[in-house]
Symmetry: C2
Subunit: 144 residues, 2 copies
DNA sequence: TTCCTTGCAAACGATTTGCATTGGA
DNA sequence: TCCAATGCAAATCGTTTGCAAGGAA
């Protein structure tokens, strides 16, 4: 039982939701790879052990209780990753060729700078900012 | 014939693509609203005058020739907006309640700062950055 | 006139849901 | 035990495509 599993188990029981085999498999799998994964990608990662329909339900529940965060990418695919309180605040490198998404963590100084930009945008707008994400599009190492 | 229509007409004929009624309606409609629009939203904006299947084909063609840019948002919806050479470089305010997306243009100073952050991230990575987009999530004026 | 474009309907792929069965606390 | 969670299959939803008819250059 890792620290991550303990954190997640607590969060689940706080919401009256069980920590089942499928849910454990999904979070473990997501913790072991870099970048968000789609239902189909997880299905493959898990060796087909969890049917797609169950996988979708698992992802929906884990998102509802705040364990997973969705990322909407090219071709209408939704990918999920561990929420920021588990994975840390980060941003994304999106490959315009293959569609892969990698995480990138900013240095504290750069993150502060970015937050200042966000504040400057929303200070005078009738928009209450709750979070932000910098998406950097380009060509990844494998595609260039 | 507006300046926008002239720019678009030129780009289309450069690609051997005709400037038809449906294509004119789509770009005119997108130019008159704030933020990217989905096929369904455009279908409604155009009063149903253009069938959905034609709308999808129109959007695909306009994206191919670089007149429209796609934006992938909540619920696996793809929304389109005028490309940056027509609309200017900008970022997005995404409402987590209603899903609406509004454009925000950064001041030159803030944009420079943001670009410095992007460079700092990709300078040591095997990733060739081509563009960036700052997504600010929160609650829009209508929902708060 | 000549292709490009459109409209309709059927096809598709990702995701959701009804229902009977299984399993975790 | 007892209700939540699962698995299967069928349904849905956004989007794409084949084909015959219409329209811009």
């Amino acid at each position: 039982m890792t620290t991550l599993e303990r954190q997640i188990g607590t969060r689940l029981s706080d919401h009256g939701v069980r920590f089942t085999r499928a849910r454990r498999a999904v979070v473990t799998s997501l913790a072991s790879v870099d970048g968000p994964q789609s239902a189909a990608e997880l299905h493959k990662l898990l060796g087909g052990g969890v049917p797609l329909s169950s996988l979708y339900r698992t992802l929906a529940v884990l998102e509802e209780v705040g364990i997973l965060a969705p990322h909407h990418g090219t071709r209408g695919l939704t990918r999920y990753e561990l929420a920021e309180w588990l994975n840390g605040h980060h941003h994304h490198l999106v490959c315009v060729d293959c569609g892969a998404v990698d995480d990138v963590h900013l240095s504290p100084g750069m993150e502060d700078t970015l937050e200042a930009v966000v504040r400057s945008v929303t200070s005078d707008a009738s928009f209450e900012a709750a979070g932000h994400s910098l998406e950097i599009e380009g060509r990844c190492g494998r595609c260039s």
